[in-house]
């Protein structure tokens, strides 16, 4: 059962490669918002 579960999980390991990109994009969005607030 555990082996079957692991086999399914391995199909979705690609998801773990996405967070670094999202973190950088999130930081960009946060910085741009902060700048816009400073200008206003």
């Amino acid at each position: 059962m555990a082996t079957l579960l692991l086999a399914h999980v391995s199909h979705y390991l690609w998801v773990l490669y996405i967070p670094p990109v999202l973190i950088v994009l999130g930081s960009i969005a946060w910085t741009m918002r902060a700048e816009r607030r400073r200008r206003d």
Partner: protein, 463 residues
């Protein structure tokens, strides 16, 4: 001798201390830390001036003199001839025929690295340039005047080279394998392709001039020259000299469609890695759909693979375009067109990193064959010219872990260098280093995306 799947990292499952995806996180942290270091410490452009300095006249006389040029050209023509001959007359087994390994491994994978280390080494060995120059010399002697050429349409830029690069890789990894029906391109097909390419190249050289075509349209000159622009050695105005490493890449990329060349390089490497991993399922589905629609299995596979290779190239182009548009949103940004060409060179180290990461193990293993049994028995007909025909490939030379670590190191170093080049160009364009740093958030996102993509593709291919 087992048939080898060409153009893939050859590796057994590795036994890593941490999961492969954690390496992607670690690599991303290295990039982010590099970005902050650059933002603080890199305040003025340092690569706009390459500070090329010539070596002594004696060095230039030897390296750029006619005798060595003629010798290197003759070697290039000989190797081209041997490749064509072996392809047409030799064994049909790709792994036993000199032509396939020499064209698609030794030359295609070897020259980029050599070019970075030693400068544009392909130029003197370029067989088509040698033949073109010889033909030009004969014309001059016979007609008493320079051959006349058409002006090269500058707007065309390097588009012919970009298209040719895609065609070359397509031939190797789509037309040849065709979904596992054949293991690799047949030596006969490779030889015919070489002859067709030779005719086309010599015709273009006749139309536009040898050097002009080599700068803009000749696939191998442009491709290897792209990597040579990262290196420290270069010839200029008849002298051989040294320049600041990385400083010539920006100037290389000013020619129109240079971005297309580097994006094509990246995209085709991504496809090669993805076709045995993340894209395997979708490609098979599309192939089956086309077969159900009435196409033959081979035609369906080739069409599906072609669609996906173009998709990969398009995806790389889209990520780059998003980065460029992000930079364009920062105050003080130059026009979009200028940005697109101004940052194209920052992808060159990434293209090199992808190339090294995906193919270095294949190179290490196949070069053992190139310099042993393929050298002694180039036609695969049982000859033993140098007594090494019985040698084999030692796959124990590289462990699975060693391959993975080299792949990670190549990707990290390549992307950090890309970040450095981008930051340097931004300081030149924006002037104010703070605005320049703000513009580079977007290139950081591009670099992190490419790093994670590269490591994901490699981890899937290796498993």
């Amino acid at each position: 001798m087992t048939l080898l799947p060409y153009a893939h990292a050859l590796v057994a499952r590795e036994d890593l201390p941490i999961p492969a995806w954690l390496f992607a996180w670690g690599a991303s942290i290295v990039l982010i830390a590099s970005f902050f270091a650059l933002s603080v410490a890199w305040r003025t452009p340092r690569f706009e001036d390459d500070r090329w300095r010539p070596y002594g006249a004696g060095v230039s006389r030897v390296l750029l003199g006619i005798p060595l040029q003629v010798l290197c050209g003759a070697i290039g023509v000989l190797l081209l001839g041997l490749t064509v001959y072996a392809g047409l007359k030799g064994t049909t087994a790709p792994d036993r025929n000199f032509a396939i390994t020499f064209a698609f491994v030794t030359a295609w994978l070897g020259f980029p690295v050599l070019s970075v280390l030693l400068g544009d080494v392909f130029r003197p060995f370029n067989p088509w340039r040698a033949i073109g120059r010889a033909a030009g010399g004969v014309f001059r002697a016979a007609a008493g005047q320079e051959p006349r050429h058409l002006p090269y349409p500058e707007g065309l830029g390097r588009w012919p080279a970009a298209a040719g690069l895609v065609a070359f890789v397509w031939l190797e990894i789509v037309y040849g394998p065709s979904g596992g029906i054949a293991v690799a391109l047949s030596p006969d097909d490779a030889a015919v392709a070489a002859l067709v390419y030779s005719g086309y190249t010599l015709a273009m050289m006749g139309l536009f001039g040898v050097e002009r075509w080599c700068e803009r349209g000749e696939v191998f000159s442009v491709y290897f020259g792209m990597f040579a622009s990262l290196g420290a050695f270069a010839a200029r105005e008849g002298r051989f000299g040294m320049r600041k490493p990385l400083s010539a890449a920006g100037r290389w990329a000013v020619v129109p469609a240079s971005a297309a060349v580097v994006i094509a390089s990246l995209g085709t490497t991504v496809f090669d890695g993805a076709q045995e991993g993340g894209l395997e399922g979708p490609m098979e589905s599309v192939g089956e759909w086309l077969t159900d629609a009435g196409l033959s299995e081979i035609a369906a596979t080739r069409i599906a693979d072609t669609a996906f290779i173009l998709l990969c190239i398009g995806a790389i182009a889209l990520v780059y375009e998003l980065g460029v548009r992000g930079m364009a949103s920062v105050r003080g940004a130059p026009p979009l067109d200028r940005l697109r060409s101004a940052f194209a060179h920052t992808l060159v180290p990434i293209a090199l990193a992808y190339l090294v990461a995906h193919y270095f193990s294949l190179f290490v293993f196949q070069e053992q064959a190139q310099f042993t049994y393929l050298l002694s028995d180039p036609l695969g007909d049982g000859a033993d010219l140098f007594g090494t025909a019985g040698s084999g490939i030692d796959f124990r030379l590289l462990s699975a872990n060693a391959i993975w670590y080299v792949q990670v190191a190549a990707l990290v170093v390549g992307h950090v260098i890309g970040l450095v080049l981008a930051h340097d160009r931004a300081t030149a364009l924006w002037g104010d280093y703070r605005q320049a740093a703000r513009s580079q958030y977007w290139m950081l996102a591009v670099m992190v995306a490419f790093t994670c993509l590269g490591l994901y593709l490699l981890s899937v291919a290796n498993s």
